[in-house]
């Protein structure tokens, strides 16, 4: 809990509205285009204020901001909870706030703010190329991102070096993960190639990934798509060739 050190302030004095002359705020007034009527409706006037609140809700949702979500959500939310009880009532223990600005029921000119452009670009704002897109979203800590995309740089004890020589490690900060799909399953998985060194190991992992029991394994064949876009049977080529040319994997049911 925070060190108080006198930060436990006495309740702020209620500054009478009249001492704030919005005209003295210069530029701010012109932005808001406030008329003198605007001073008449402070939101936080304590007392039975339901009508005021509901009017403001109606007004905001019908003045419909740039996002398409407000009308549906607004209407629904009004019906459910806020028509019944007064939202602000005298008994509520609210610190009397300092009004540097009075709340008005004028439509909020800032609703069409350019920073709302993300609402319009609703599809995959973050899924642009590597490194582009939104900063800091999703909120995953930097070092956690590094863990998954880093090429493991373990010591000599493990067999990582052959993978590096094969060119996978050469792609600086790209990962050694490739996509694996299974026929008939909508969700693709990802597999780390650098921990596998043989078809047997790779096939074992893929089978386990998709929950295929040992008895059923012969029904499936592992195929891969190479850099030219052709689909080939995984075990038809030597491991090193496979690793170099592989783009993604697919498990298919063998026919005949």
């Amino acid at each position: 809990m925070e060190l108080q050190l006198g930060l436990a302030l006495p309740p702020p004095p209620l500054i009478p509205i009249e001492t704030f002359d919005l005209n003295s705020y210069g530029n701010y007034e012109t932005r808001e285009a406030l008329g003198s009527n605007a001073l008449s409706w402070p939101l936080l006037k304590l007392g039975p204020a339901d009508n005021d609140i509901n009017n403001i809700h109606h007004h905001n949702s019908s003045s419909s901001s740039s996002s398409s979500s407000s009308s549906g959500g607004g209407a629904g939310c009004k019906k459910r909870s806020f028509d019944e009880a007064p939202f602000f009532d005298e008994k509520r223990n609210v610190p009397k706030t300092l009004h540097l600005l009075l709340w008005t029921n004028q439509p909020n000119d800032e609703d069409d703010d350019p920073s709302n452009v993300l609402h319009e670009n609703s599809s995959s704002a973050i899924f642009k190329n590597d490194g582009e897109g939104l900063v800091g979203w999703p909120p995953v800590k930097t070092w956690r991102k590094k863990v998954h995309h880093q090429i493991p740089n373990g010591g000599a004890e493990n067999n990582r070096l052959p993978a590096v020589e094969n060119g996978i490690g050469g792609r600086a900060s790209k990962s050694t993960y490739v996509k694996v799909k299974m026929e008939g399953v909508p969700i693709a998985r990802k597999i780390d190639l650098s921990v596998h060194h043989s078809f047997e190991g790779l096939t074992n992992t893929v089978m386990r990934m998709f929950g295929i029991s040992d008895g059923n394994r012969k029904i499936f064949k592992l195929t891969y798509q190479d850099r030219e876009g052709d689909w080939l049977l995984a075990e038809d080529v030597p491991w090193r060739t496979f690793i170099r040319s592989l783009k993604c994997l697919k498990l298919i049911r063998s026919r005949g």
Partner: protein, 580 residues
């Protein structure tokens, strides 16, 4: 309180009574509210200080008020610094604090820092100035190197705890672990999981572990290979917490049985983490300790659902689980049926930047855990879809939730069943979970959700909002309704000057407010700053002076926090205040 009564209790008695009051909240009440003599006594016997924002107060002020502090905890940068939203060089330097405390608190023995810039100079000063130094925790810190660690190792004879969790440390190739003298035997807790592979010498580590009989918590970094892991475990069989190392080699039965044997010796082990690059075939090596495990952090392990299910089915005592979305809904269902003591669940995305899901994890997994684990209190969940129905189910089945952080990866994602905003779902969370102290929102949300939050979330202390709301009304609801709010962090929301200025006084009752990519103008910031002298209003904008842009241009980032120390002196050029 009548003066007569207060003076009839002697100083010694009161001091003794106060020593039982441990919580900072209660101590603050004692010193602030009651009477002058209690204030005086309390300040002299206060030993532990927590400062949630290092710029809220100056070191001199703290020292003046509390002359005999032994333990201090400081936090620096705002939370969104974790996600690269705070530019380098913003601030959070600890050196001024260490410099002042070096002279004033010779008996200081504990320093805990979070999100601060720590230099080698600061570490050297700590090593030199505090004779009985015992605990150093540097969480998410940066700015120092192994040289600084070497100074600590060499001088702090009574060091018990050295925890560098999630910090960034520069490697100067100094074998700093070897700087612990051979006579040093006091280590109880060591966390060096953030260090790179070049920064730890195995032999020095083994020697250190073997001569510290009180070692109970050991978190090593990725580079320690399997056979070394087994050796270290055998040297420290009384460990309670252990971070396991790289398991990347393919299965070898001799290595396996050595590891399994080493683990089975550790009868007191309760918490395991690490598991980088683990090969599932090695997991059975830890089965002998699983039944006693209360905490498991698998969030670096690329193990898939079938192996995860096997593992959690061996852990009936689990209270805390951190895991990747590889666990999938099926794994969470298994968790729900096996781990009835679960209190905390965190599910992280294995591939946060891929548009397609690569694991079958949906809201169903979270619902299953909610329904199956009655003690669940703390949730952090990344997923790609959610529904109001699921959130309502979670809320109704868990009125005791105190932390709920949901991250739906794609911004503005609606309820996948109805296409509606998720207002009602989150509304149910705040309405039913009356003890909720921390909440993070995501998905498609209108001003309505903030109305619910303002109305119901009376104990909420920290709220994180991104890509939500329609207008200033949203922010206004939160600022006017959430009585216990201390920290509010907002990004990419259409909140602007109106809500901020209408609720200016509220800001003085909070620790801090962060707003980035919102709609606040520089004029409003200047006004706020002029009228509220006890607030520091920092506009963080790397594009240049905010004054030089058209008046309706909004500020990039805004950080407002209360302070009795006034404006800070270490602001970088991209932080603008009213005086610029």
């Amino acid at each position: 309180m009548p003066k007569r009564l207060a003076s009839s209790l002697s100083y010694e008695v009161l001091e003794h009574v106060f020593s039982f009051i441990q919580s900072d909240k209660d101590r603050n009440v004692v010193s602030a509210v009651l009477c002058k003599s209690w204030y005086e006594i309390e300040r002299w016997c206060r030993r532990k200080i927590f400062v949630g924002n290092c710029y809220a107060v100056s070191p001199k002020m703290v020292i003046r008020r509390f002359p005999q502090v032994r333990s201090i905890e400081l936090k620096g940068k705002p939370h969104f610094a974790d996600f690269n939203l705070v530019p380098d060089g913003w601030g959070g330097y600890v050196l001024p604090w260490i410099t002042e405390m070096a002279g004033a608190y010779p008996w200081l023995d504990e320093i805990r820092l979070k999100r601060m810039v720590v230099t080698d100079e600061s570490l050297e000063l700590i090593a030199k100035s505090f004779k009985d130094f015992k605990v150093l925790v540097l969480a998410s810190c940066e700015g120092f190197s192994t040289d600084g660690l070497a100074a600590i190792a060499a001088s702090c004879k009574n060091l018990r705890e050295l925890d560098l969790r999630e910090s960034e440390v520069d490697d100067t190739s100094v074998h700093w672990l070897s700087h612990f003298p051979e006579t040093y035997t006091s280590m109880v807790s060591l966390n060096i999981s953030c260090l790179g592979s070049g920064e730890v010498s195995f032999s020095a580590l083994e020697r250190l572990v073997s001569r510290c009989p009180n070692l109970r918590s050991l978190k090593l970094n990725r580079a320690v290979p399997l056979d070394k892991t087994a050796n270290i475990l055998r040297l420290a069989p009384r460990l309670v917490e252990f971070s396991a190392c790289t398991y990347s080699a393919e299965l070898r039965s001799d290595v396996f049985s050595n590891l399994a044997g080493a683990f089975s010796n550790c009868k007191e082990l309760r918490s395991l983490s690490g598991f980088w690059d683990v090969v599932p075939d090695y997991l059975p090596a830890i089965y002998s300790v699983c039944s006693r495990l209360t905490s498991l952090n698998l969030s670096y392990a690329t193990i898939l659902s079938p192996d995860l299910i096997k593992l959690v089915s061996h852990c009936p005592s689990l209270q805390r689980l951190l895991v990747l979305d590889y666990i999938e809904d099926s794994g969470l269902e298994a968790l729900a049926s096996n781990c009835k003591d679960l209190q905390e669940l965190r599910v992280f995305p294995s591939d946060p930047f891929d548009a397609e899901p690569n694991a079958s994890l949906t809201e169903q997994g979270l619902v299953a855990v909610s329904l199956g684990c009655p003690k669940l209190q703390s949730v952090l969940y990344f997923c790609r879809r959610m529904s109001n129905a699921a959130l309502v189910t979670i809320a109704q089945s868990h009125p005791n939730l105190n932390r709920f952080r949901l991250c739906i990866i794609e911004p503005n994602t609606a309820d996948y069943l109805t296409g509606e905003p998720l207002d009602v779902g989150f509304g149910a969370i705040v309405e039913h979970c009356k003890d909720l102290i921390r909440l993070s929102l995501s998905g498609l949300l209108t001003d309505c959700v903030f109305e619910y939050i303002g109305k119901y979330a009376k104990k909420l202390e920290m709220l994180s909002v991104a890509f939500a709301g329609d207008s200033d009304l949203g922010l206004h609801h939160v600022l006017s309704g959430c009585e216990s709010l201390r920290k509010l962090e907002i990004r990419d929301c259409p909140f602007g000057d109106k809500a901020l200025l209408t609720n200016a006084a509220k800001l003085e009752t909070m620790q801090s407010l962060w707003m980035s990519s919102c709609s606040v103008s520089f004029e409003a910031c200047k006004l706020l700053s002029q009228k509220m002298p006890r607030l520091n209003v920092e506009v963080i904008d790397e594009r240049g002076p905010p004054d030089s842009r058209p008046e309706n241009c909004t500020v990039d980032k805004l950080y407002i926090y209360r302070s009795v120390a006034g404006p800070r002196f270490d602001m970088p050029p991209f932080v603008w205040t009213k005086d610029e």
